[in-house]
């Protein structure tokens, strides 16, 4: 392969460079987003592993410590309280220089700061005289509130029963080390992150392919010329692939740098109650290297596929015949999957729901080109003006390519439709004055009730304390604000060893947190998908102009107004965008119906509408950006001194 010639071809000059820059930009954007999608998965894994030490694994032999954990609450935040007692020579927990001695309290930096800021009676008195501050290794995120409390192994805190809910508390467990295992909720987050990555990566791959086609589109004439002067197909392929890969590698490096620069911003996206350690979002060097190798390889592969035309025919003549009609079975598949959705409910297993959603997503993608073809036929049949006729015929001619332009938005519309309207209606805030509840050990209900009454009175918190079965309920006065609730919490701390007095809102906090995180995740996925869809639409539009530049040039030369050519291009994107985008959203909403809780979420609907409006506007804007390119390729029909 002649690298020198490849380099000269690459440098090209004039309009050729525009294509190079567009490709480079496209590859940079997709690499940055790909790194984000991959890094997010590893980041959740790192979080899960960092929090694993608080999720004890029972020792089979040689226990060195007893460990238990529970949630405490302050204002609207959860505090993870880890109780530890040494049985022998216990190792230092992560983020601590040594194992905590009995009676010692260690706080995370954020909890220490909050304890110093709030009046002692609201928080600090629960964790008096902290012995030290926990290091980052103990925390899943920098703002996390964690307290580690040392005990004698026989203390009630390490022997009493705890809540049966695994999310709320981990019962006292004898452990052989403090490695632990990632908790069930961190595994759930990893699964959600994986699904989100898949949703983001699929449009990214389509985007990468479009970028590679752009490289080929601007080169095919010169490469056809090389074929005419006797270059072998192998040489032509090698040169183009080398060229595409050089550009892709440069784009991938730019993308990696852009991602690195964006990490501080991305780290601010709150998940699981807090932002990220920036280091967690940096993928390891191996992952980075793999992405930097994979992106140019994928672009090279797409270039080879795009090149077939030139290699097959030295004249580069595209033979266009009436495309075979697409099979209706594609739509039948979608209808069959949709028919199954009403059978699902909130009680269905997560795996079944995930599979059904995946199938629906796949079938929307399968049915897309068929529907675009039908839209094209209707548009062409009803067209009165040349622009609509051209647009309709093009949609019929290559519905897959038209679908590629709008598929990102349509598939994102499906996701938006599904997630946007899911309502957090089940988590209603507590009605009336706040009540703190704690379950008392059997036979001690009266004693605990009396103690609670005395402690609250001493703290100056007006409350009515009653027992209901084994649950002691402290109903605070109607004037109780968040500070009063925290004073009550502090007063009642340790009332029942191993159990935290909680309000109804506290008990729902985990569910609310997951729903809030799903919403943040949805917005992130929608933003990324729409970004990719917009960039993809822009690249596809530019690439389509370069593909057809000769025909466009000759049409303009024969007197066709630029507006007609541009109008046809616009209609070619807008018609399927409106029909498919709207259709996909409706399918998404339909799929979400069995899982809707109560009514439609207003916030969700507004987010959905805003995302869709921004996405549609972006796609139309990206298409409009290539208008100067259309003008430039058609303005100069044949500038040759002949």
């Amino acid at each position: 392969m002649n690298l020198g010639l490849t380099w000269r071809l690459l440098k090209g000059g004039g309009k050729g460079m525009l294509g190079t820059w567009l490709t480079l930009g496209a590859v940079a954007v997709s690499t940055a987003l790909l790194l984000f999608a991959v890094a997010a998965n590893f980041a959740f894994e790192v979080r899960g592993e960092r929090g694993a030490w608080r999720n004890p694994v029972p020792a089979t032999s040689g226990a060195v410590a007893v460990e238990a954990s529970r949630y405490d609450y302050v204002r609207d935040q959860a505090i993870t309280v880890v109780d530890l007692g040494a049985l022998g020579r216990a190792p230092a927990p992560p983020g601590m220089p040594r194992f905590p001695a009995p009676g010692e309290v260690w706080l995370s930096p954020a909890l220490a700061a909050l304890a110093a800021r709030l009046p002692a009676g609201e928080l600090a008195d629960r964790y008096p005289d902290p012995a030290g501050v926990l290091g980052d290794e103990a925390l899943i995120h920098p703002d996390e509130l964690v307290a580690v409390v040392g005990h004698e192994p026989g203390d009630l805190a390490l022997t009493a029963a705890r809540s049966d809910d695994w999310v709320i508390a981990k019962p006292p467990t004898k452990v052989a080390d403090l490695a632990g295992t990632p908790s069930e909720d961190s595994e759930a987050y990893r699964m959600l992150a994986l699904i989100a990555s898949v949703l983001m990566v699929v449009p990214l791959l389509v985007f990468g392919g479009a970028a590679a086609r752009l490289t080929v589109a601007r080169r095919d004439q010169r490469l056809a010329a090389l074929r005419l002067v006797g270059a072998t197909p192998g040489q032509v392929v090698a040169m183009t692939v080398a060229e595409a890969m050089i550009v892709a590698l440069a784009g991938a490096l730019v993308g990696a740098v852009a991602f690195a620069l964006a990490v501080p911003l991305l780290a601010g996206i709150e998940m699981q109650g807090g932002p990220w350690f920036a280091a967690d979002l940096f993928p390891g060097p191996l992952i980075l290297a793999a992405v930097l190798v994979a992106v140019p390889l994928l672009v090279g592969l797409s270039a080879v596929i795009g090149l077939r035309r030139v290699v097959v025919s030295p004249l580069g003549v595209a033979r266009r015949e009436t495309p075979p009609a697409m099979r209706f079975v594609r739509v039948l598949a979608l209808l069959a999957v949709l028919a199954a959705f009403p059978m699902l409910s909130r009680g269905s297993s997560v795996t079944i729901v995930a599979v059904a959603l995946g199938l629906a997503f796949l079938c929307v993608n399968l049915a897309g080109p068929w529907v675009v073809g039908v839209i094209g036929r209707i548009t062409a049949a009803s067209a009165r003006r040349p622009a609509r006729l051209l647009a309709g015929r093009r949609l019929v001619d290559d519905p897959r390519s038209a679908w590629r332009t709008v598929s990102g938005v349509a598939l994102t519309g499906f996701v938006a439709g599904f997630l946007g309207l899911l309502s957090p209606g089940a988590f209603e805030s507590e009605a009336g004055p706040p009540q703190l509840r704690v379950t008392a050990p059997a036979g001690q209900v009266a004693k605990v009730t009396e103690q609670a009454r005395r402690r609250l009175a001493k703290a100056g918190v007006p409350a009515t304390v009653k027992a209901s079965d084994r649950v002691v309920v402290a109903a605070l006065g109607s004037a109780a604000d968040a500070a009063a609730v925290d004073r009550a919490r502090t007063a009642l701390a340790g009332l029942v060893p191993g159990r935290t007095p909680t309000t109804k809102t506290d008990d729902q906090r985990f569910g609310v947190q997951i729903l809030a995180d799903v919403r943040v995740g949805t917005i992130v996925v929608l933003s990324v998908s729409f970004l990719v869809a917009i960039a993809s639409a822009g690249i596809t539009a530019a690439s389509a102009i370069l593909d057809r530049r000769q025909t466009y040039g000759l049409l303009r030369l024969a007197g066709t107004p630029l507006e007609v050519l541009d109008g046809a291009r616009r209609a070619e994107t807008l018609i399927p965008l409106a029909v498919m985008g709207g259709g996909a959203i409706l399918v998404g909403v339909f799929c979400a119906t069995p899982f809707m809780l109560g009514g439609i979420s207003t916030v969700g609907a507004v987010t959905l509408l805003a995302c869709v409006a921004a996405g549609f506007a972006g796609v139309i804007g990206a298409g409009a950006l290539s208008r100067p390119l259309l003008r430039s390729v058609t303005a100069d029909p044949a500038p040759r001194p002949d």
Partner: protein
């Protein structure tokens, strides 16, 4: 015969290269003129200047007595659509449109309703030997058939002048011969003038006269019989 298209003292440079060095040319109604010359002689530049595609650096172009080189691009574009027809070497048909819609396109661009435009387009298929090809797409036509569709498209608006740039360049000799015959006959039959840029004497033989271009200038030559 009346003068349809007149070029006076046309000059055009591309950087240091002189493409046209002050050319005078007159084309009469119904006349077929071949512009011949080797590569780089300036023949295509002359065609582009006469067709209003390119503005000459100096000189004037008149169509039926109206000066067109000073018009705005929009007006020249409209003129090209309505008063001129074009046939190129290849690539001028839209691959996704069936043949009849390719021919109807100039009429539709000029505001003729679609049904009427397609009906008028179909009238050209029989005389050009394209019967039953109306709904085929360019990819389903042979090179000669595609060129005949292009001829129909060039003539459908009843233009005053048809410009052809190497119209047989991509065809074999026999097909090229047939295509050129059809082009010459059809333009004459429609009272249109024909200007053909070619370097093929066999193509030029179908025209009433030949203009030889060398180094941006027209050589003195005789009128063909």
């Amino acid at each position: 015969m009346n003068d349809v298209l007149v070029g006076r003292a046309l000059a055009k440079r591309f950087g240091q290269t002189v493409a046209l060095g002050g050319v005078d040319i007159t084309v009469r109604a119904g006349e077929a003129v071949a512009i011949m010359g080797p590569s780089g002689s300036g023949k295509s530049t002359l065609l582009h200047c006469l067709a209003g595609i390119m503005k000459p650096d100096s000189g004037e172009v008149h169509l039926l007595g109206r000066r067109i080189d000073a018009m705005s691009e929009r007006r020249r574009s409209a003129l090209r659509r309505t008063r001129f027809g074009f046939v190129f070497q290849f690539g001028q048909l839209l691959p996704e449109l069936p043949a009849e819609e390719n021919v109807a396109l100039p009429l539709m661009l000029d505001g003729v309703p679609r049904a009427q435009a397609v009906r008028r387009a179909r009238e050209w298929f029989g005389p050009l030997g394209l019967g039953s090809m109306e709904t085929r797409r360019p990819g389903e036509l042979s090179g000669g058939q595609a060129q005949r569709v292009a001829i129909a498209r060039a003539l459908v608006s009843r233009p005053a002048v048809v410009f052809a740039d190497e119209p047989t360049g991509a065809l074999d000799q026999r097909t090229g011969h047939d295509t050129m015959r059809l082009l010459a006959e059809a333009t004459k039959h429609n009272d249109a003038s024909l200007i053909v840029v070619t370097h093929d004497p066999d193509v030029a033989a179908w025209c009433d006269r030949t203009v030889e271009v060398r180094d941006g200038l027209i050589l003195p030559s005789g009128v063909r019989a």
